[in-house]
Symmetry: C2
Subunit: 87 residues, 2 copies
């Protein structure tokens, strides 16, 4: 079973109030030197069968239509190596 | 300016209703072959200055005390290469 990760982040031009809240809280908590924080979502998908081009194309479509709102969000699909790689 | 990513995911033994909702919706939307979905958070931190061991140690502490709830969540800190690498 292979793991595919879909990262969904707000586009850079979209205001990210969650990230701003985190960034503003950091100095109060004693953490300096962080210029910007953006918060997004991470989906870990356990894929049955091999992660070939067809499977990745399907996951890409799934991310585009369902996991991300592509009006305001960007997404990235990455294959993660697992202990038992896809054959 | 270097980018450091903190991924926060629920621990494997903790129920993830958000991920389950996504997983159950997928077959209805025509996507089969996904055995499991876990949903978590991704923080992208823009770090001022070099990302050396001291900076990473601070970010690790920040993630542990502030970004993740380590009772129920695991986190991972990763340095991402950017166009303008830290000097």
């Amino acid at each position: 079973m292979a793991r595919v990760v879909v990262d969904v982040m707000l586009k850079p031009e979209i205001l990210d109030p969650q990230g701003q809240a985190v960034q503003r809280a950091l100095p109060r908590l004693g953490f300096d030197g962080i210029a910007d924080v953006r918060q997004g979502k991470r989906f870990e998908l356990e894929v049955e069968g091999p992660v070939d081009d067809a499977a990745l194309a399907r996951i890409h479509e799934m991310a585009e239509t369902f996991l991300a709102n592509t009006v305001i969000e960007d997404f990235a699909v990455k294959v993660e190596e697992t202990a038992e790689p896809a054959k």
